[in-house]
Subunit: 166 residues, 2 copies
Protein backbone atom coordinates (compact mmCIF):
# COMPACT_ATOMS: atom_id res chain seq x y z
CA UNK A 1 0.00 0.00 0.00
CA UNK A 2 1.18 3.51 -0.76
CA UNK A 3 2.17 5.95 1.94
CA UNK A 4 -0.14 8.94 2.43
CA UNK A 5 -0.20 11.23 -0.58
CA UNK A 6 1.55 14.52 -0.74
CA UNK A 7 -0.77 17.50 -0.19
CA UNK A 8 -1.05 18.28 -3.90
CA UNK A 9 -2.67 14.87 -4.40
CA UNK A 10 -5.47 15.56 -1.96
CA UNK A 11 -8.04 16.69 -4.48
CA UNK A 12 -8.03 13.30 -6.16
CA UNK A 13 -9.21 12.59 -9.64
CA UNK A 14 -10.03 16.17 -10.60
CA UNK A 15 -6.38 17.15 -10.42
CA UNK A 16 -4.85 14.02 -11.87
CA UNK A 17 -6.99 12.84 -14.77
CA UNK A 18 -7.60 9.45 -13.17
CA UNK A 19 -10.88 7.79 -14.10
CA UNK A 20 -12.75 5.66 -11.59
CA UNK A 21 -15.46 3.47 -13.09
CA UNK A 22 -17.35 0.24 -12.54
CA UNK A 23 -15.45 -2.78 -13.85
CA UNK A 24 -16.81 -4.66 -16.85
CA UNK A 25 -16.22 -8.22 -18.00
CA UNK A 26 -13.61 -6.85 -20.44
CA UNK A 27 -11.51 -5.63 -17.48
CA UNK A 28 -11.34 -9.00 -15.77
CA UNK A 29 -7.94 -10.14 -17.06
CA UNK A 30 -6.40 -6.83 -15.98
CA UNK A 31 -8.00 -7.14 -12.54
CA UNK A 32 -6.71 -10.69 -12.07
CA UNK A 33 -3.23 -9.47 -13.09
CA UNK A 34 -3.42 -6.81 -10.38
CA UNK A 35 -4.55 -9.36 -7.79
CA UNK A 36 -1.67 -11.65 -8.73
CA UNK A 37 0.98 -8.99 -8.44
CA UNK A 38 0.87 -8.87 -4.67
CA UNK A 39 2.80 -10.78 -2.00
CA UNK A 40 -0.33 -12.48 -0.66
CA UNK A 41 -2.15 -12.67 -3.98
CA UNK A 42 0.70 -14.47 -5.73
CA UNK A 43 0.08 -17.52 -3.55
CA UNK A 44 -3.68 -17.66 -3.96
CA UNK A 45 -4.54 -16.44 -7.46
CA UNK A 46 -4.26 -18.14 -10.87
CA UNK A 47 -2.67 -16.26 -13.77
CA UNK A 48 -3.46 -18.84 -16.43
CA UNK A 49 -5.20 -17.85 -19.68
CA UNK A 50 -7.92 -18.35 -20.67
CA UNK A 51 -9.11 -17.14 -17.29
CA UNK A 52 -9.94 -19.69 -14.66
CA UNK A 53 -13.76 -19.96 -14.86
CA UNK A 54 -13.97 -19.25 -11.15
CA UNK A 55 -12.95 -15.66 -11.86
CA UNK A 56 -15.74 -15.28 -14.39
CA UNK A 57 -18.30 -16.68 -11.97
CA UNK A 58 -16.95 -14.39 -9.24
CA UNK A 59 -17.15 -11.36 -11.49
CA UNK A 60 -20.71 -12.17 -12.52
CA UNK A 61 -21.80 -12.57 -8.91
CA UNK A 62 -20.29 -9.18 -8.04
CA UNK A 63 -21.71 -7.55 -11.15
CA UNK A 64 -25.32 -8.60 -10.51
CA UNK A 65 -25.28 -7.49 -6.85
CA UNK A 66 -26.29 -3.82 -6.64
CA UNK A 67 -24.55 -3.58 -3.26
CA UNK A 68 -21.16 -4.40 -4.76
CA UNK A 69 -19.02 -1.89 -6.60
CA UNK A 70 -15.95 -3.42 -8.23
CA UNK A 71 -14.03 -0.42 -9.53
CA UNK A 72 -11.09 0.03 -11.85
CA UNK A 73 -8.86 3.09 -11.99
CA UNK A 74 -7.69 4.22 -15.41
CA UNK A 75 -4.98 6.63 -16.39
CA UNK A 76 -4.82 7.40 -20.10
CA UNK A 77 -7.02 4.41 -20.91
CA UNK A 78 -4.79 1.99 -19.02
CA UNK A 79 -6.02 0.17 -15.90
CA UNK A 80 -3.65 0.97 -13.07
CA UNK A 81 -5.68 -0.11 -10.06
CA UNK A 82 -8.78 -1.82 -8.73
CA UNK A 83 -10.77 -2.12 -5.56
CA UNK A 84 -14.09 -3.49 -4.35
CA UNK A 85 -16.65 -1.76 -2.17
CA UNK A 86 -19.44 -3.72 -0.48
CA UNK A 87 -22.37 -1.65 0.77
CA UNK A 88 -23.85 -3.41 3.79
CA UNK A 89 -27.29 -2.53 5.17
CA UNK A 90 -28.16 -3.39 8.74
CA UNK A 91 -30.66 -2.94 11.52
CA UNK A 92 -27.95 -2.31 14.10
CA UNK A 93 -26.64 1.15 14.93
CA UNK A 94 -29.96 2.75 13.97
CA UNK A 95 -30.16 0.97 10.64
CA UNK A 96 -26.74 2.15 9.60
CA UNK A 97 -25.23 1.39 6.20
CA UNK A 98 -21.55 0.64 6.12
CA UNK A 99 -19.11 0.52 3.22
CA UNK A 100 -16.48 -2.17 3.23
CA UNK A 101 -13.37 -1.78 1.11
CA UNK A 102 -11.53 -4.85 -0.09
CA UNK A 103 -8.87 -5.96 -2.57
CA UNK A 104 -7.22 -2.60 -3.20
CA UNK A 105 -4.46 -3.08 -5.77
CA UNK A 106 -2.17 -0.71 -7.69
CA UNK A 107 -0.04 -1.75 -10.62
CA UNK A 108 3.57 -2.25 -9.65
CA UNK A 109 5.00 0.57 -11.77
CA UNK A 110 2.69 3.17 -10.21
CA UNK A 111 3.18 2.44 -6.53
CA UNK A 112 4.55 5.12 -4.24
CA UNK A 113 2.89 8.02 -6.09
CA UNK A 114 -0.02 8.59 -3.74
CA UNK A 115 -2.54 6.68 -5.86
CA UNK A 116 -3.61 4.63 -2.85
CA UNK A 117 -4.62 7.80 -1.09
CA UNK A 118 -6.61 8.95 -4.12
CA UNK A 119 -8.32 5.59 -4.44
CA UNK A 120 -9.38 5.66 -0.80
CA UNK A 121 -10.54 9.26 -1.08
CA UNK A 122 -12.69 8.21 -4.02
CA UNK A 123 -13.99 5.07 -2.31
CA UNK A 124 -14.85 6.91 0.89
CA UNK A 125 -16.71 9.56 -1.13
CA UNK A 126 -18.68 6.77 -2.86
CA UNK A 127 -19.58 5.32 0.54
CA UNK A 128 -20.74 8.72 1.73
CA UNK A 129 -22.83 9.21 -1.41
CA UNK A 130 -24.51 5.85 -0.79
CA UNK A 131 -25.47 6.95 2.71
CA UNK A 132 -22.88 4.98 4.63
CA UNK A 133 -21.97 6.30 8.06
CA UNK A 134 -19.05 3.95 8.55
CA UNK A 135 -16.31 2.66 6.28
CA UNK A 136 -14.46 -0.48 7.27
CA UNK A 137 -11.73 -2.77 6.06
CA UNK A 138 -9.52 -5.46 7.43
CA UNK A 139 -5.79 -5.59 6.87
CA UNK A 140 -3.72 -8.76 7.02
CA UNK A 141 -1.42 -8.21 9.99
CA UNK A 142 1.57 -9.13 7.82
CA UNK A 143 1.00 -5.94 5.78
CA UNK A 144 2.67 -3.92 8.50
CA UNK A 145 3.62 -1.10 6.14
CA UNK A 146 -0.08 -0.29 5.57
CA UNK A 147 -0.98 0.35 9.19
CA UNK A 148 0.10 4.00 9.23
CA UNK A 149 -1.43 4.57 5.81
CA UNK A 150 -4.89 3.69 7.11
CA UNK A 151 -4.40 5.70 10.28
CA UNK A 152 -3.41 8.72 8.19
CA UNK A 153 -6.71 8.35 6.32
CA UNK A 154 -8.50 8.59 9.65
CA UNK A 155 -9.22 4.90 10.20
CA UNK A 156 -8.89 3.50 13.71
CA UNK A 157 -7.70 -0.06 14.32
CA UNK A 158 -10.49 -0.56 16.84
CA UNK A 159 -11.29 -4.17 15.93
CA UNK A 160 -9.72 -7.59 15.65
CA UNK A 161 -10.33 -9.20 12.28
CA UNK A 162 -11.06 -12.93 12.61
CA UNK A 163 -11.07 -15.30 9.64
CA UNK A 164 -12.06 -18.94 9.40
CA UNK A 165 -11.27 -20.94 6.28
CA UNK A 166 -13.93 -23.52 5.42
Amino acid sequence: MDPPAKPEDDNGESMTGLTFRRATRADLEAIVDLLLDDPLGAAREDGSRPLNPRYIAGFEAVDRDPNQYLAVVEDGGRIIGSLQITFIPSVSRLGMWRGQIEAVRITRTRRGEGLGRQMFDWAIAECRQRGCELVQLTMDKTRTESFKFYEALGFRASHEGFKLSL
Copy 2:
Protein backbone atom coordinates in the same frame (compact mmCIF):
# COMPACT_ATOMS: atom_id res chain seq x y z
CA MET B 1 -20.52 -13.41 23.98
CA ASP B 2 -20.80 -16.85 25.47
CA PRO B 3 -17.77 -18.92 26.32
CA PRO B 4 -17.26 -22.05 24.22
CA ALA B 5 -20.09 -24.50 24.69
CA LYS B 6 -19.87 -27.65 26.70
CA PRO B 7 -19.43 -30.77 24.56
CA GLU B 8 -23.08 -31.74 24.80
CA ASP B 9 -24.01 -28.53 23.01
CA ASP B 10 -21.93 -29.33 19.95
CA ASN B 11 -24.70 -30.78 17.84
CA GLY B 12 -26.61 -27.49 17.80
CA GLU B 13 -30.24 -27.11 16.98
CA SER B 14 -31.02 -30.79 16.53
CA MET B 15 -30.38 -31.45 20.22
CA THR B 16 -31.90 -28.32 21.66
CA GLY B 17 -35.07 -27.50 19.76
CA LEU B 18 -33.79 -24.06 18.78
CA THR B 19 -35.24 -22.65 15.58
CA PHE B 20 -33.15 -20.50 13.27
CA ARG B 21 -35.12 -18.56 10.68
CA ARG B 22 -35.01 -15.44 8.57
CA ALA B 23 -36.24 -12.36 10.48
CA THR B 24 -39.49 -10.74 9.43
CA ARG B 25 -40.76 -7.21 9.98
CA ALA B 26 -42.75 -8.53 12.96
CA ASP B 27 -39.48 -9.48 14.69
CA LEU B 28 -37.97 -6.02 14.46
CA GLU B 29 -38.86 -4.76 17.96
CA ALA B 30 -37.38 -7.90 19.50
CA ILE B 31 -34.22 -7.50 17.43
CA VAL B 32 -33.81 -3.86 18.48
CA ASP B 33 -34.28 -4.92 22.11
CA LEU B 34 -31.47 -7.45 21.70
CA LEU B 35 -29.21 -4.84 20.10
CA LEU B 36 -29.89 -2.43 22.94
CA ASP B 37 -29.12 -4.92 25.68
CA ASP B 38 -25.39 -4.84 25.08
CA PRO B 39 -22.62 -2.68 26.54
CA LEU B 40 -21.80 -1.10 23.19
CA GLY B 41 -25.33 -1.19 21.81
CA ALA B 42 -26.80 0.68 24.77
CA ALA B 43 -24.91 3.80 23.69
CA ARG B 44 -25.81 3.70 20.01
CA GLU B 45 -29.31 2.23 19.71
CA ASP B 46 -32.74 3.77 20.34
CA GLY B 47 -35.29 1.85 22.39
CA SER B 48 -38.19 4.21 21.82
CA ARG B 49 -41.59 2.97 20.62
CA PRO B 50 -42.94 3.23 18.01
CA LEU B 51 -39.67 2.14 16.46
CA ASN B 52 -37.32 4.77 15.15
CA PRO B 53 -38.04 4.80 11.37
CA ARG B 54 -34.34 4.29 10.71
CA TYR B 55 -34.70 0.72 12.00
CA ILE B 56 -37.55 0.05 9.60
CA ALA B 57 -35.56 1.42 6.65
CA GLY B 58 -32.54 -0.63 7.73
CA PHE B 59 -34.62 -3.79 8.01
CA GLU B 60 -36.16 -3.24 4.58
CA ALA B 61 -32.74 -2.74 2.98
CA VAL B 62 -31.49 -5.96 4.56
CA ASP B 63 -34.66 -7.84 3.65
CA ARG B 64 -34.55 -6.98 -0.07
CA ASP B 65 -30.86 -7.89 -0.45
CA PRO B 66 -30.56 -11.61 -1.29
CA ASN B 67 -26.98 -11.56 -0.01
CA GLN B 68 -28.09 -10.63 3.51
CA TYR B 69 -29.47 -13.10 6.01
CA LEU B 70 -30.78 -11.47 9.18
CA ALA B 71 -31.62 -14.41 11.41
CA VAL B 72 -33.50 -14.82 14.66
CA VAL B 73 -33.18 -17.73 17.04
CA GLU B 74 -36.33 -18.96 18.73
CA ASP B 75 -36.81 -21.25 21.66
CA GLY B 76 -40.40 -22.23 22.35
CA GLY B 77 -41.67 -19.42 20.13
CA ARG B 78 -39.66 -16.75 21.95
CA ILE B 79 -36.85 -14.86 20.22
CA ILE B 80 -33.69 -15.36 22.23
CA GLY B 81 -31.04 -14.24 19.78
CA SER B 82 -30.24 -12.66 16.43
CA LEU B 83 -27.37 -12.31 14.02
CA GLN B 84 -26.71 -11.07 10.50
CA ILE B 85 -24.76 -12.85 7.78
CA THR B 86 -23.59 -10.97 4.67
CA PHE B 87 -22.60 -13.15 1.70
CA ILE B 88 -19.90 -11.33 -0.24
CA PRO B 89 -18.95 -12.33 -3.79
CA SER B 90 -15.58 -11.34 -5.16
CA VAL B 91 -13.10 -11.79 -7.98
CA SER B 92 -10.15 -12.12 -5.61
CA ARG B 93 -8.95 -15.45 -4.24
CA LEU B 94 -10.26 -17.29 -7.32
CA GLY B 95 -13.68 -15.70 -7.17
CA MET B 96 -14.19 -16.73 -3.59
CA TRP B 97 -17.40 -16.06 -1.67
CA ARG B 98 -17.06 -15.11 1.94
CA GLY B 99 -19.60 -14.99 4.72
CA GLN B 100 -19.42 -12.15 7.20
CA ILE B 101 -21.10 -12.46 10.58
CA GLU B 102 -22.24 -9.34 12.39
CA ALA B 103 -24.40 -8.22 15.29
CA VAL B 104 -24.61 -11.50 17.20
CA ARG B 105 -26.81 -11.00 20.24
CA ILE B 106 -28.28 -13.29 22.89
CA THR B 107 -30.97 -12.30 25.34
CA ARG B 108 -29.57 -11.53 28.76
CA THR B 109 -31.30 -14.37 30.60
CA ARG B 110 -29.90 -17.01 28.26
CA ARG B 111 -26.24 -16.05 28.23
CA GLY B 112 -23.64 -18.52 29.42
CA GLU B 113 -25.51 -21.60 28.17
CA GLY B 114 -23.52 -22.22 25.01
CA LEU B 115 -26.06 -20.59 22.69
CA GLY B 116 -23.35 -18.47 21.11
CA ARG B 117 -21.55 -21.59 20.04
CA GLN B 118 -24.72 -23.02 18.54
CA MET B 119 -25.48 -19.78 16.70
CA PHE B 120 -22.01 -19.73 15.18
CA ASP B 121 -22.22 -23.41 14.26
CA TRP B 122 -25.48 -22.64 12.46
CA ALA B 123 -24.15 -19.51 10.78
CA ILE B 124 -20.98 -21.23 9.60
CA ALA B 125 -23.06 -24.08 8.17
CA GLU B 126 -25.20 -21.51 6.31
CA CYS B 127 -22.04 -19.94 4.87
CA ARG B 128 -20.81 -23.34 3.74
CA GLN B 129 -24.15 -24.10 2.13
CA ARG B 130 -23.97 -20.84 0.20
CA GLY B 131 -20.57 -21.81 -1.18
CA CYS B 132 -18.45 -19.58 1.05
CA GLU B 133 -14.86 -20.67 1.57
CA LEU B 134 -14.12 -18.13 4.26
CA VAL B 135 -16.09 -16.80 7.22
CA GLN B 136 -15.05 -13.51 8.74
CA LEU B 137 -16.04 -11.13 11.48
CA THR B 138 -14.56 -8.23 13.34
CA MET B 139 -14.64 -7.91 17.12
CA ASP B 140 -14.42 -4.61 18.96
CA LYS B 141 -11.15 -4.86 20.87
CA THR B 142 -12.94 -3.87 24.08
CA ARG B 143 -14.86 -7.18 23.97
CA THR B 144 -11.81 -8.96 25.35
CA GLU B 145 -13.85 -11.85 26.76
CA SER B 146 -14.85 -12.91 23.23
CA PHE B 147 -11.35 -13.42 21.88
CA LYS B 148 -10.97 -16.99 23.15
CA PHE B 149 -14.52 -17.82 22.11
CA TYR B 150 -13.72 -17.08 18.46
CA GLU B 151 -10.40 -18.89 18.64
CA ALA B 152 -12.16 -21.95 20.06
CA LEU B 153 -14.46 -21.87 17.02
CA GLY B 154 -11.39 -22.06 14.80
CA PHE B 155 -11.16 -18.38 13.83
CA ARG B 156 -7.72 -16.79 13.61
CA ALA B 157 -7.18 -13.14 14.53
CA SER B 158 -5.08 -12.68 11.41
CA HIS B 159 -6.30 -9.17 10.54
CA GLU B 160 -6.57 -5.68 11.95
CA GLY B 161 -10.08 -4.30 11.72
CA PHE B 162 -10.08 -0.61 10.75
CA LYS B 163 -13.17 1.61 11.00
CA LEU B 164 -13.74 5.17 9.86
CA SER B 165 -16.86 7.04 10.97
CA LEU B 166 -18.22 9.40 8.31
